[in-house]
Chain length 428, copies 2
């Protein structure tokens, strides 16, 4: 039998509900794991073991609060908490303590969650890494910007936690750490109280160890019961589009292999998995995403750039300065491009129930000085579509390789259900 | 000749640029006006006269920074400032000092603006008023939630300032105070650093005493030069739709009169101003806006409601609790309704260059216990269209009545130009 900290959230929640497990016991197992591994993994920017224990005991004594009753969670340190520091991965915000919890944190707590601590984010959710290592091999990056949540979940420190994505900050670290990342349809989970970067891209999401756990978490936060994966699945009827995307030439051999193996396995099981080609219109969409993100982020972080520029990394200053180089007309054209592609992809989803595409270039690169490239996530974030990455192979260094499953905008419940049904086949 | 504090922003900017006026002299005139009138008007939550003077003198000694060089502005106290308290109109945030300036504040400062202080907002931009009175008649409400900015501008304390709108919080107070309110196309001015209420509705905007000043302000913040009203206008060719909307039965006699007088005046000047009727689809759009706003606001303010509920007014608690009563399915249907109406109004704008509609039920109601009804603004905010209110008459108490001019989504430059051309006719 698994140690308690390795339980799925669905299983732990069910045991707590049945009175077979206390929140305190579950939390202690998680805290033990953190004690044993944190010096290697470095997932936490701030840990509140004492506060979490008090909270767990309170929950154990009281009535059931909701779907997350007694479950420990990580909160990415880009997301405000009233009772813990929130530093956005930047020395500018050293020791900063927000007045209020972010909306999603307040709702998680209301559903009974125990916030264990704040998980490491890269510098203001950009490219300069924090201290986190990949728990599968600490010489490799965990990915970013949700580095801490991905690593903590992969290392069985907590079953799940909050992550955010503007380019590829949920899907990439989840793929690199061999866990499941869920970026919902744009706007599904409120982002009030997360540091804003890019108003038309920033998306709140979840990293967990299974699709079912992602669904439980999202259902608890949103009150959308349909997000829980409970129905018997009907995967036989799924029309799956295998979508290499225009970025395919940059896929590394292990990603090519995972993609092709997935196609083979799905077909062998009698599923309809056919090549889905994005039209020419989508070819420049990565460039449009980069323009939009740069333009909006330069403005969102105007104060940081112009009043505290000396406390930003050179890299982030460079990103922001590039954003200021995007002219208004170019930004407007990029948004018009995105709108055209959203309409085109909606049409495409008449032929497919879901698409499967690479989650990252390949396995997690070696070294902790960079977090890898969000290339394969950029268009899906810009298209506002729900995406779930699941492990689908290993790379030359034995590290995980992910594939992402992409659904119709707003159709998160069906995507979660389908992803849960397909994950065993993809993971193998 | 006008006293300096009554100069338009465009004129003041031009005099400063030509070296005929110093920022300090302009600011002192504004501060004198504030000293003389603040006990009656109550526009300011926080005033930083000393800081503003230091800033003005620095600007006077240095090179020209941008379009707002040396111009005093008000910042609604819903919008973060690093150097002044930001209390969101709520005792929950008494004395709160954000780490950073909001994006729009940082950009205003970068363009040379002098922030005079924080202008009063109703409680978290909802319905419980602050201390502000209508400068035209202090027994009447100035409207809300951007009460302080509207009153300060109308009372010649500053030429313009930031305001925000989720239902009718720019247009209504501007109309009630007899000034010009500009709610841009959704997303045009970044809102990062304004307290989030409703992610799909919150819009950053401007209140000024003329359309031209609104354009200058928006151009300075966004770097969109086209928003400045400088071109010779071609109002003769404008196709104007006079749009009573489905809420027309609730228009008070002074609004009916202003609307009909406007139709007559425009026609008399040879302009094409014809009745524009919104289809049946728009009839329930106010209800959809209320559902969306309530649902999203309940979530954005979850921490305030559940952790600090005792410090919220009963009224705001009621609004939030009503928001929690909106089921997910009802919210989804309201968003689908909004999407259908956005498509329908885009079609309608093939026939019209702009629409003219009521800005509020009537003149500012008597009493300071409420801020009036945003009814006539709700659909336009939900439709994400740019709106400008201009004075267009007076009510039975001699207070101003506004009409709003509504443009195509994203077509703010043409709307500003047309509104500037039409304002003299509408105002009479």
């Amino acid at each position: 039998m698994n140690p308690l900290n390795e339980l799925s959230a669905v299983e732990a929640a069910s045991r707590i509900e049945r009175g077979e497990l206390t929140s305190e016991a579950l939390l202690r197992a998680c805290l033990d794991r953190i004690s044993a591994r944190e010096t290697v993994v470095g997932a936490w920017q701030h840990l509140d073991a004492e506060g979490a224990l008090v909270r767990a005991r309170t929950l154990d004594r009281g009535p059931r609060r909701g779907l997350l009753h007694g479950l420990p969670i990580a909160v990415k340190d880009l997301v405000d908490t009233a009772d813990m520091p929130t530093e956005y991965g930047s020395p500018i915000y050293a020791g900063h303590r927000p007045v209020a919890d972010a909306s999603c944190v307040a709702m998680a707590r209301r559903a009974g969650a125990v916030v264990v601590g704040k998980s490491v984010t890269t510098e203001i959710a950009n490219y300069t890494p924090g201290k986190t290592a990949n728990p599968r091999n600490p010489a490799h990056t965990p990915g970013g910007s949700s580095s801490g949540t991905a690593a903590a979940v992969a290392d069985h420190m907590v079953p799940f936690g909050f992550a955010t994505q503007t380019a590829g900050s949920i899907i990439r670290p989840a793929a690199f750490c061999g866990v499941v990342g869920y970026k919902p349809t744009f706007g599904l989970i409120p982002r009030a109280g997360a540091k804003p970067l890019s108003d038309t891209l920033d998306t709140m999401g979840v990293i967990a160890r299974s699709v079912e756990d992602c669904g439980l978490f999202a259902a608890a936060i949103t009150g959308r019961e349909a997000l829980r994966v409970t129905r018997a699945n009907s995967r036989a009827s799924l029309r799956i589009g295998m979508c290499r995307t225009h970025e395919w030439p940059q896929a590394q051999p292990e990603t090519v292999e995972a993609f092709e193996r997935a196609t083979g396995r799905l077909s062998k099981q009698g599923l309809r998995a056919v090549e889905a080609t994005l039209s020419k219109e989508f070819a420049g969409l990565v460039a449009s995403q980069i323009d939009i993100m740069g333009y909006e982020m330069a403005r969102s972080l105007a104060w940081e750039r112009f009043e505290r520029g000396d406390k930003l990394s050179e890299r982030l200053r460079g990103v922001l300065d590039a954003g200021w180089q995007v002219a208004n007309a170019r930004y407007d054209e990029a948004q018009a491009h995105a709108a055209r592609c959203r309409a085109a992809i909606a049409d495409m989803f008449r032929e497919y129930d879901l698409l499967i595409a690479p989650a990252a270039l390949g396995e997690a690169p070696k070294g902790l000085a960079a977090t890898g490239d969000p290339l394969f996530c950029r268009i899906w974030t810009l298209l506002h579509l729900p995406c779930i990455t699941v492990p689908a192979g290993v790379g030359p260094n034995g590290l995980p390789v992910g594939l992402q499953i992409i659904g119709r905008a707003g159709d998160d419940a069906r995507l979660l259900e389908a992803a849960a049904a397909l994950a065993p086949t993809l993971t193998g």
